[in-house]
C-alpha cells in the first residue's frame, strides 16, 4: 500500500543515499579537469604574492621617513637665516656674569665690524679673521679702554672650552655704514659644539639699559653672556599641514596582451570614471620643500557592453523531457581582472519545440558594470612657492595601492530569432587575477590660498599611473591610469614660515 502523504524516503535514507552511496554511472561525481587547473593557478598566484604585501608597505614608509628625516635634518643644519656676522666669544668657561672680566673676539670674515668699545664694563674685545684653536692674550691684538686697568692675564682658552658662539641675525648695513641686526638689540647665541659647528641658535633681546650701546656690536656677545638663555628659539620652523581632498578623475585602462595590443573584438562600448578622496599630511620646510603622505580611497567604475554569439548542444546539459538546461561557462577578461561566470541557459523546447536546432546561434548581449575600490598610500615630495598668502606647488611621488573590494554586475540579454528574449542579472565579487598590491607613480600641480587661522583651500591637477599590471595573467596585462582635478582643504599646524 502506498502512502502518498509521505512519499519520499525518510531523512535517514536520503542522508545515507546522498552522502554515502556514490550511485549513478561512473564519473558522474567527478569534476572536470578545469577545477584542479583553476586551483593550481590560484595556488601559484597565492604563493607568488604571499609576502609581497608588507615589503611594499614597509618600504614605502621607510622611504617616506627617510625623505622626511633628510629634509628636516637639512633644514636644521642650514644657518641661512642667522647672520653673516659671527662672533666667537672667548671667556673662561664658567664666567657668564658681568662681574667676571670677559674677553670677546669677533669672528667676521665677511662682515668686519668696527671694534668700538664704549662701555662701563671693564671688557676687552678684538677682531679676528679666523677662529683660533688656542687663543692667548698675547697672540691677539687688543683694544684697551682708556683709563682702565689691564686685567690679569687669563690662561689660554681652547675652542672646546668656549661655551657659546654669538652672532647677529641677518646683519645688514645701517645708515652710518655699520652693520647691525634688522631686529635691533637682538643677539643670537648658540652653544659651541665639539666639531666647531654652530648649534641651534637662540635669539636674546638685550635689556633696555644696554640698548644704548649701539652700534657697539662687538660688545653684544659679551653682554649676551650675562643674559639667561630662553628655552626656545623663534627661528623659522617646518610647518605641518593636515588636510582632506577630493579628486574627480577620468580614468583609463589599457588591456594589452604580453606580446602586443589586445582589443577584445566583442567590446562595443566602454565608459570609465573614478573618484578619490583622502586624508593627507604635509611637511613644509622653511625653504619650501614639501614631503607628505596620505591615505586615499579610490573608486573606479567601468561599464562595457559586449556581444557574444553562442550556441548550445545537448552535451553537458541537463536535459529533461520538456526542456534543455545548460550552463555556459564564460570567461571575460577585463582591465580589473578576469571573471568567470557560469551563465545558466534554459532553452525552452516546450515553448518553441521546433525552432531551436542544436548549434544554432543565439545573440548574447552582456552589459558588464564593474566597481573596484582601492586603498592608496601615496608619498609625495615637491616644492612650494609661496607669496602673499598664495602658493603654487609641484609634487611627485609614488603610491602603494591595494584593491579592497570588487563588484561586477552582469546583465545579459539573449535574443533568439526575435522571439525568445531573456534577461539575467548576476553579481560577482571575486574577480580572478587581480593583484593584491601594485605600485603607482604620480605627479601634480596645485594652487592654494591661505584663508584664515591656518586654513587653506587648494585645487590642482593630478596624474597617476600604475607601474605594473594590475592583473596577474600570463597573456594579458592591464595598466591603470587616471588624471583629473582635485580640490581640498588643509589646516596648518605650527607657526613655521614658508618661503
Amino acid at each position: 500500500m502506498q502512502d502518498h502523504t509521505n512519499p519520499i524516503p525518510n531523512d535517514e535514507e536520503l542522508r545515507r543515499m546522498l552522502r554515502e552511496d556514490p550511485g549513478g554511472p561512473a564519473g558522474w561525481d567527478q569534476p572536470g579537469e578545469r577545477v584542479w587547473q583553476g586551483i593550481e593557478a590560484d595556488l601559484t598566484h597565492m604563493q607568488r604574492r604571499r609576502g609581497a604585501w608588507w615589503p611594499w608597505i614597509v618600504g614605502a614608509l621607510l622611504l617616506g621617513l627617510a625623505i622626511g628625516w633628510g629634509l628636516l635634518r637639512g633644514t636644521e643644519n642650514t644657518p641661512g637665516h642667522h647672520g653673516t656676522a659671527s662672533f666667537a666669544v672667548t671667556s673662561p668657561a664658567k664666567s657668564r656674569h658681568a662681574a667676571t672680566p670677559t674677553t670677546a673676539h669677533v669672528e667676521s670674515p665677511s662682515n668686519p665690524v668696527p671694534a668700538t668699545a664704549s662701555t662701563d664694563a671693564p671688557e676687552t674685545s678684538s677682531i679676528k679673521k679666523e677662529q683660533p684653536e688656542v687663543a692667548t692674550p698675547a697672540s691677539r691684538p687688543e683694544t684697551k679702554a682708556p683709563g682702565t686697568k689691564q686685567p690679569a692675564p687669563t690662561p689660554p682658552v681652547t675652542a672646546a672650552e668656549i661655551p657659546l658662539r654669538a652672532f647677529l641675525p641677518e646683519a645688514s648695513p645701517s645708515k652710518d655704514g655699520t652693520r647691525r641686526s634688522p631686529q635691533e638689540n637682538i643677539v643670537a647665541l648658540s652653544e659651541r659644539r665639539p666639531d666647531d659647528r654652530p648649534g641651534e641658535p637662540t635669539l636674546v633681546a638685550l635689556p633696555r639699559r644696554q640698548r644704548r650701546l649701539e652700534p657697539a656690536a662687538t660688545l653684544l656677545p659679551a653682554i649676551a653672556l650675562t643674559l639667561p638663555i630662553p628655552p626656545r628659539s623663534p627661528r623659522p620652523k617646518a610647518r605641518h599641514e593636515f588636510g582632506i581632498s577630493v579628486h574627480g578623475n577620468g580614468v583609463s585602462t589599457s588591456l594589452q596582451s604580453r606580446q602586443g595590443a589586445f582589443r577584445p573584438a566583442e567590446v562595443l562600448s566602454r565608459e570609465q570614471s573614478a573618484h578619490r578622496w583622502g586624508l593627507h599630511y604635509l611637511l613644509v620646510t622653511p625653504r619650501g620643500w614639501i614631503v607628505g603622505a596620505g591615505l586615499d580611497h579610490l573608486r573606479i567604475r567601468e561599464g562595457s557592453r559586449r556581444v557574444h554569439e553562442i550556441s548550445f548542444t545537448r552535451q553537458g546539459g541537463v536535459s529533461g523531457a520538456q526542456g534543455l538546461s545548460q550552463t555556459l561557462p564564460m570567461t571575460m577578461h577585463g582591465s580589473m581582472g578576469q571573471i568567470r561566470a557560469s551563465l545558466p541557459v534554459l532553452i525552452l523546447e516546450r515553448m518553441a519545440p521546433l525552432d531551436y536546432q542544436e548549434g544554432e546561434t543565439i545573440l548574447l548581449n552582456v552589459d558588464w558594470n564593474q566597481r573596484l575600490d582601492l586603498l592608496r598610500v601615496p608619498l609625495w615630495a615637491g616644492w612650494r612657492w609661496q607669496r602673499n598668502g598664495w602658493f603654487l606647488e609641484g609634487r611627485g611621488g609614488v603610491a602603494v595601492t591595494m584593491p579592497l573590494s570588487y563588484r561586477g554586475d552582469i546583465r545579459q540579454v539573449r535574443e533568439f530569432r526575435n522571439r525568445v528574449r531573456i534577461r539575467e542579472r548576476s553579481s560577482i565579487e571575486n574577480p580572478e587575477g587581480l593583484v593584491s598590491v601594485f605600485p603607482e607613480w604620480q605627479a601634480g600641480l596645485r594652487i592654494g590660498l591661505d584663508l584664515w587661522q591656518g586654513w587653506q583651500i587648494q585645487a590642482g591637477f593630478d596624474f597617476w599611473r600604475s607601474f605594473t599590471s594590475v592583473i596577474d595573467h600570463p597573456e594579458y596585462r592591464s595598466i591603470l591610469q587616471g588624471q583629473g582635478l582635485s580640490f581640498g582643504f588643509s589646516r596648518q599646524i605650527g607657526k613655521g614660515q614658508g618661503q
Binding site: M17, M46, P329, E424, N430
Partner: protein, 185 residues
C-alpha cells in the same frame, strides 16, 4: 566519508603546508568525489558545482594552517567547502526576468529519466532543479543534519522561515518523485 590514516594525514598536511604541489593534489584527489557531490547538491548545475568546488579547495589550501589536529581533516574540509558553497549561493543571485510570458517553470521532467529507480545521481539532479531556497535548507537540515536554529543563524533567516522552506521543499520533492518510487512507510 573515507578517512585517511592519521600518520598519513599528518604527513600530507605537513607537505601541503610546505607548498608541495603533489601533496596538494593528493589532498584534492582524496576529498574530491565527496566534496563534489556536496557541491552538486547545493548548486543548480554541474558547472556551478565545479565553481563551488574550486573556490572551496582554494579556501581549504589558503586556510590549511588554521586547521587544528584535534578533529578529522575530512570533517574540517567538509565544513570549509560547505561554508564556501553557501557564500557562493549568497554571492550569485541569478534573477530571471521573463519577457512576454516566455519564461515558465519547465515543471516535472526528470520523472521520465529516472526510469523507475532512484539513486544518488538522480536524487542530486532532482535537488538541483529545486528552487535555491528550498534546496539549501533541505540540504542543511536533511543531509547535513543541522537544526533549524543553526540553519537560521547560518543563513541569516528566522527559524520559522527555515521550517517553512523545509516543508515546501518536501512538498516540491513529493510532487516530482516518480510514483513507483514513493516510499511506503
Amino acid at each position: 566519508m573515507r578517512g585517511i590514516e592519521p600518520t598519513a594525514e599528518a604527513s600530507l598536511l605537513r607537505d601541503c603546508l610546505c607548498g608541495d604541489r603533489s601533496a596538494q593534489y593528493a589532498l584534492y584527489e582524496r576529498y574530491r568525489p565527496d566534496m563534489f557531490r556536496l557541491c552538486l547538491r547545493y548548486s543548480s548545475s554541474r558547472e556551478e558545482a565545479e565553481d563551488m568546488l574550486q573556490d572551496g579547495f582554494i579556501t581549504v589550501f589558503r586556510d590549511l594552517d588554521k586547521f587544528r589536529s584535534e578533529g578529522a581533516l575530512g570533517g574540517w574540509v567538509r565544513q570549509v567547502i560547505l561554508r564556501t558553497a553557501l557564500q557562493h549561493l549568497r554571492r550569485r543571485r541569478w534573477i530571471f526576468e521573463p519577457l512576454n510570458g516566455i519564461w515558465e517553470d519547465p515543471g516535472p521532467g526528470l520523472e521520465q529519466q529516472t526510469h523507475n529507480r532512484l539513486d544518488a545521481q538522480h536524487l542530486t539532479l532532482l535537488l538541483q532543479r529545486m528552487p535555491s531556497g528550498y534546496r539549501t535548507i533541505f540540504n542543511l537540515f536533511v543531509v547535513e543534519g543541522y537544526p533549524h536554529e543553526e540553519i537560521a543563524e547560518m543563513l541569516g533567516i528566522s527559524a520559522s522561515t527555515s521550517k517553512t522552506q523545509l516543508f515546501k521543499a518536501r512538498n516540491w520533492l513529493q510532487a516530482r518523485l516518480p510514483a513507483s518510487l514513493r516510499k511506503t512507510n
